[in-house]
């Protein structure tokens, strides 16, 4: 089936198998391997991408054909003009990642969360990220990172540590 999607601002037209999952379309057809697959059952959230600018979706539970005509933002689309997104900066600053496998999905969930709720409380953050599993951090530093990003000015700090 032919589909047209806009991913990270670029238009793509592709012929895909109807059963191809959005996660594999992004990873294998477009080469955007930042989106990960961790559980195949929609529990872990490693595959979360943002649909139409504000909706976090699990791309392992969506067919590529369902994305036809939609805009998708993946982790690769967060950095703009060589500047890290405040969430990326905050995850780095607050040690919000260890093995890095859950990080792209976690970042995209937090991105959508802040779109809906720019100043979330700790419990709102914890609830907001409860569809994303992390085995390394115990979530505490991820919560701190989201709090930092929520208070960051429009221009994030530089990338030098």
């Amino acid at each position: 089936m032919n589909i047209s999607v806009k991913v990270n601002g670029t238009d793509y037209a592709r012929d895909v198998e109807p059963r191809m999952l959005l996660a594999y379309f992004l990873r294998e057809s477009l080469g955007l391997t930042g989106t990960h697959v961790g559980c195949d059952s929609s529990h872990c959230g490693c595959c979360v991408v943002v649909l139409d600018g504000n909706r976090a979706v699990k791309s392992c539970t969506m067919f590529a054909v369902q994305a036809d005509g939609h805009e998708i933002t993946t982790v690769e689309g967060l950095e703009q003009g060589g500047k890290l997104h405040p969430l990326q900066q905050a995850f780095w600053d607050q040690h919000g990642l260890q093995c890095g496998y859950c990080t792209p999905g976690m970042l995209m969930t937090c991105y959508a969360l802040l779109k809906h709720n720019p100043k979330p409380s700790e419990s709102e953050i914890r609830e907001g990220i409860s569809g994303n599993l992390c085995r390394c951090t115990g979530y505490q530093n991820i919560v701190k990172a989201v709090q930092q990003a929520a208070t960051a000015d429009a221009t994030p700090a530089g990338v030098a540590s």
């Binding site: 191809m20 990960h36 697959v37 559980c39 982790v75 260890q98 890095g100 115990g138 505490q140 540590s161």
Partner: protein, 784 residues
Amino acid sequence: MTTGQLPERHAIGAAMKRKEDPRFIRGKGRYLDDIVLPNMLFLALVHSPYPHAKITKIDKTAALALPGVKAVITGEDLVAAKLGWLPTFHGFDNQMVLAIGKALFQYQEVAGVVATSREIAADGAELVDVQYEPLDPVVDPYQSKLDKIILRDDREQKTNHIYHWQVGEREKTDAALAASDVTIKERILSPRCHPAPLEPCGCVSDMNGATGRLTVYMTSQAPHVHRTAFSLVTGIPEDKIHVISPDVGGGFGNKVPVYPGYVVATVASVILGVPVKWVENRTENLTTTGFARDYHMDVEIGATKAGKVTALKVSTTADHGAFDAAADPRKYPAGMFGIVTGSYDFPTAFAEVDAYFTNKAPGGIAYRCSFRVTEAAYAIERAMDILADKLGLDPVQLRMQNFVKKEQFPYHSPLGFTYDSGDYAATTKKALDIIGYDALLKEQAEKRKRGEFMGIGVSTFTEIVGAGPGKHFDILGIKMFDSAEIRIHPTGSGIVRAGTRHQGQGHETTWAQIVAEELGLDPQELLVEEGDTDTAPYGLGTYASRSTPVAGGALALAARKIREKARKIAAHLLEASEDDVEWKDYKFNLKGVPGKTVTMKEVAFAAYTNPAPDTEPGLEATYYYDPPNLTFPNGTYIAVVDVDKDTGSVKVRRFLAVDDCGVVINPMIVEGQIHGGLTEGFAIAFMQEIKYDSGGNNLNTDFTEYLIPTALETPHWETAGTVTPSPHHPIGAKGVGESPNVGSPQAFVNAVIDALSPLGVTHIDMPLTKEKVWNAIQGAQSKK
């Protein structure tokens, strides 16, 4: 130690931000499944639906007829290629790669289908027609013990018993127990669970027909060991094998063993001459690879009326599943279980383990712990609480009066270990002060009057990590040293390689900090590389908290070798004799002439442009470090819980971890490791269990049933530390990644039992689900 003098350079002791993060936060990590090679095929495995069954027929016809399917491989095919069986790491058993004649556990790998896409491979796997004749399964190790059904007819000895291991003095311990004023005895289960890293296991095997060289990209915590294992199993010379472990999405012990998928993908690549990728799905991960624990421990402690311990005896029945695939050193089939005397000065002790086959998945890996240390720490810390309850003593008081004292180190434990250092009383005192223990006791007393269930649980554990001294520990006969190689470039930056392979622990940062501290260089200009067997020096890998204790030592000593050579060059530059040059404040100083100095950067340039006469040009060193002893991190953890008596739900109100892991290289990373380990300990205490029903069916085959804590359930963690350096480690560090997982489960359980103690509840086996806690409350109340 000159800790903290170079904060701008982020040397040892600085909370330096991680050097590996820029690629991960951009989605530019390179994990196994991100690797795509030209003409690559995909492998899917066929699994047995039965836990125990004769295989009467495997028909490949329909699968081979599917367009895109290139090969179907069975156990018989592998036997013909002499690859039917795989030796397990500690050498007591062989594991079938694919089932041969009989399936021995549910989900066992029976056949492999290789095809042009992962979807066609999965379709092909569905079309392999396997005929089974179900047999009665043996699920319970206590049933297995009776030998009524012999599971492994391939073995010479017709018994399900795998081995007996013991340490300590049985008769002396029995006599001491018999003579004790007070004794306790409890069967304590450390239940079967699974590490479940978010990235599952996988590989891309690529046999190059032209060069005869096999490259295996794999999710490996120990790439060199895997290269040697591949060579031993296949007969391919080791120089013709290249193992690359790319970014690893969590390991926790799951990625130490060699699994059938790696072998079948490699065989397929050899047969077909193209690369073959195998990546397991979550169900395959939970049902076939690397389970942990499953120790049923009968624990006895003797004590005087005043609460001085007199003896400890632990007899364990271990369920190893269908094959003995435990990843333990050869001389230690039960790993470091001898640490079971913990932080306490037992005059005598005895421990034994008997391991049995059952129709369950093989494993027995060290899930975020040194070999079998989590089981041991859980047994002793749970049992000390049961003893305190029987004596009517506060559990902290009982611990305090039995601790190994600071002045007893190095301490020779009755089960044969020499503890390096610690100050258990000071660490515990710090924890009690921070948490406000006395106030909590008061609050609890008031709540009990009102019939509310509040519990305080303590764990004062000692871990044993850093395997290890080569004279005791080996994998496949290879001594458990580790290695480092440092090359300093002419302009003063450098590359650092080690035999370890991080999976989130932050080696790219901390290894640079160690070398920077030793050489006075900028850690930002020291590139750390691991995981490629063609370039890294030979090492035993990352697990059992051994990276810092072993490779960390190798790094410091390799750097010191460089410093010694650099001194010669510095003397040449200073036109002085070597004896007049000293290393101080991160540079070479001419003694007695203030301001006359040479930096390591200047030395590095001279090493390539103007080395001293008779000095070999260049500035690099390699060191293989065989540690003289293990290290013994320890800590005091305190959990405060409220139990809802109507629902059985447990709320962890506070949790404090005070860790002593010796010298801290990067406090931010150490704290992160502790947060993560506590979260896994919490999961093991309350949620995670791989359970089988009486028919041998695995009941926890995906994340719907195998519960991983989310941010909602996970408590807020409070952390603190004390520093008792390891006396034998080159920088005094002990390792920390696993302490929180080893130390915490019993703190949670002790807290819940403490909450329920007014009802007379003395023990509940993990995981403490609402149902189990509610049943314990109901059972206790109905007895009253």
